[in-house]
C-alpha cells in the first residue's frame, strides 16, 4: 500500500506547487480512494502466525515446509535422495529468512549403548546440517544436536518402530525467540 501512496502523494505535491493549475487527466480522484477496494487489486493475506509464533507456511500441513523429518537407513548417516528436495526447500527458507534459526535433532533406534547412540544421532544431525549449509544456510542459523535413542517417535521394539526412530528433525525459531525450541 505504501508503494502505491507515494507516487500519488508526489503528484499531489507537484500539483500543489504549480502556479498554473493543470487539469488532472486521471480524473482527480482523491488520494484516499486509491487505498480503497479498487478493481484489479489481488487481495493478499500476509502469512499469519501459528500458536508458537511461527509463520503458517512452516506449520500448515499443506506447505512442504511443514515436513521436518529426514529418515535414515540402518547404520547410515547420509541424507537419502528422496529427502534432497525437502532439505533444499528448508535451505531456501533459511536463505530468505536469515533471522530464523534451526535446531536439527538427530535420533537413533534403541539398540546398543545410549552414549554411543547419542554420537550416532549427532552424525545424522550433522549430515542434514551439511546439506543445508551447502545450499546457502549460514552456520550461525544452524545447530545440530543429538537425542540419541532417548526420544523415540515410535516406542515399539521391532524394525517398523526402529525405522521411524532413525531420523533427523528440523525445528525452527523466529527472530523474536518464539518457535519450536
Amino acid at each position: 500500500m505504501k508503494k502505491l501512496l507515494i507516487p500519488a502523494l508526489l503528484s499531489a505535491l507537484i500539483i500543489g506547487c504549480s502556479s498554473t493549475p493543470i487539469p488532472d487527466e486521471t480524473g482527480g480522484a482523491p488520494v484516499e480512494s486509491r487505498s480503497g477496494s479498487g478493481s484489479g487489486v489481488a487481495p493478499v493475506v500476509a502469512g499469519g502466525l501459528d500458536s508458537r509464533g511461527l509463520p503458517n507456511e512452516l506449520t500448515d500441513p499443506k506447505s512442504v515446509l511443514s515436513k521436518r523429518s529426514v529418515y535414515f537407513d540402518l547404520d547410515s548417516y547420509e541424507v537419502k535422495d528422496e529427502y534432497k528436495d525437502l532439505v533444499a526447500a528448508h535451505a531456501k527458507y533459511l536463505v530468505n529468512n536469515r533471522a530464523f534459526k534451526m535446531l536439527i535433532q538427530g535420533n537413533t533406534d534403541e539398540r546398543g549403548s545410549r552414549e554411543y547412540n547419542l554420537a550416532l544421532g549427532q552424525k545424522r544431525a550433522e549430515a542434514i546440517k551439511r546439506s543445508l549449509t551447502l545450499l546457502g544456510a549460514k552456520e550461525d542459523q544452524l545447530e545440530s544436536v543429538s537425542l540419541g535413542e532417548e526420544k523415540p517417535k515410535d516406542a515399539g521394539h521391532d524394525e517398523a518402530a526402529w525405522s521411524q526412530n532413525r531420523r533427523g528433525d528440523m525445528l525452527y525459531k523466529a527472530a523474536d525467540g518464539r518457535g519450536e525450541f
Partner: protein
C-alpha cells in the same frame, strides 16, 4: 561402618526421575525430576555430587549436582551435544564428549566448567570416556570402522586399541583397582556384559541376557551393576566380576536404567 549408595534413572508416567538409593535398592530418594530424559549419571569420588546429562534444554547438556544442597552447575553447554561425563579419580576434572567441532570428541574440563582441553583428535566418533587409576582414559571409538574400546593418556596423545573380538564393544568401565575392564559386547545380536582381565587381556562374557547396558563397578571392584531388561521393562542387576553371582535389585516400579554405583562413604 562403610556403606555405598547407587544412583539410577526411573522412567515413570512420562517423567524421568534421578534417584539415589542404598546399594540393595532400598530407601530411594529422588534428586531430580524432569519431563525430558536424564542419562549417564556418575558419582564424584567423594560421593557428594553426581554429574549427568539432562535434555531439559531440548539438547544434551552436562550438569554437576550437589546431592545434599540440590545445587546444580552447568559444566558444558557448548553448541551441539554435550555428553558422557566421567570423573577423574581425584574428583577435580571430568572427561566429557562435545560435538562443537562437528563430531563427537573427548575433552576434559574442571568440575566448574573452566579449563577446557581437547583429549582426542580423530576423524570418527570418540565417546564414553572413563578415567582409570593408572592415569589413562578408556573410551569407545569407531576410528577402526566398528565401535571398539581404546585407551589414551588423560593428557592426550596416541590411543591404543584394547578390544579386538567382535564388531561392537562399547561402554568401557575400568574397575577401581585397575585390574579389570567391564564393557558391553554384542554377540549374535545380543548385548551382554563382559569383563577383560587387563593383565592377561582375557575376555569373559558374564551374562546370558540380551539387553545389558551401562555397567558400573562397586567400589570394591568385585560386583558390577548393570541395566538389563526383564519382561519388557528396565531392571537393575548386580553381577560378580567372575560371573558366578547374579542378583536382581528390587527397585520400585517403573522402567529403571542408567545405574551408577557410588564410592564408600562413612
Amino acid at each position: 561402618m562403610f556403606s555405598t549408595r547407587i544412583a539410577y534413572v526411573v522412567k515413570s508416567r512420562g517423567q524421568f526421575l534421578l534417584q539415589i538409593a542404598d546399594s540393595d535398592g532400598q530407601g530411594a530418594a529422588t534428586a531430580l525430576t524432569s519431563s525430558e530424559p536424564i542419562i549417564s549419571p556418575v558419582w564424584s569420588p567423594d560421593g557428594g555430587r553426581l554429574a549427568y546429562v539432562s535434555f531439559e534444554k531440548k539438547k544434551p547438556v552436562i550438569y554437576v549436582h550437589s546431592i545434599s544442597s540440590g545445587q546444580r552447575t552447568i559444566v558444558a553447554n557448548f553448541k551441539g551435544s554435550n555428553s558422557a561425563p566421567g570423573w577423574s579419580t581425584d574428583g577435580r576434572r571430568l572427561a566429557i564428549v562435545l560435538s562443537k567441532d562437528g563430531h563427537s570428541q573427548i575433552y576434559s574440563v574442571n568440575a566448574d566448567g573452566s579449563g577446557l582441553q581437547r583429549v582426542t583428535q580423530s576423524a570418527g566418533i570418540d565417546t564414553e570416556p572413563r578415567y582409570s587409576v593408572d592415569g589413562n582414559i578408556y573410551f569407545t571409538s569407531d576410528r577402526g570402522g566398528s565401535p571398539q574400546i581404546y585407551r589414551v593418556s588423560a593428557t592426550g596423545g596416541d590411543a591404543q586399541r584394547v578390544t579386538f573380538e567382535g564388531s561392537y564393544n562399547v561402554s568401557p568401565r575400568p574397575s577401581p583397582d585397575g585390574k579389570t575392564l567391564a564393557f558391553i559386547t554384542r554377540r549374535e545380536g545380543r548385548f551382554q556384559l563382559a569383563a577383560m582381565d587387563l593383565a592377561s587381556r582375557q575376555v569373559q562374557v558374564l551374562s546370558d541376557s540380551n539387553k545389558d547396558e551401562s555397567p558400573s563397578f562397586a567400589p570394591n571392584s568385585r560386583m558390577i551393576l548393570i541395566a538389563t531388561e526383564m519382561g519388557g521393562r528396565g531392571v537393575l542387576s548386580a553381577v560378580s566380576s567372575d560371573g558366578r553371582i547374579k542378583q536382581r535389585l528390587s527397585v520400585a516400579a517403573g522402567d529403571v536404567r542408567e545405574p551408577a554405583w557410588g564410592p564408600f562413604f562413612q
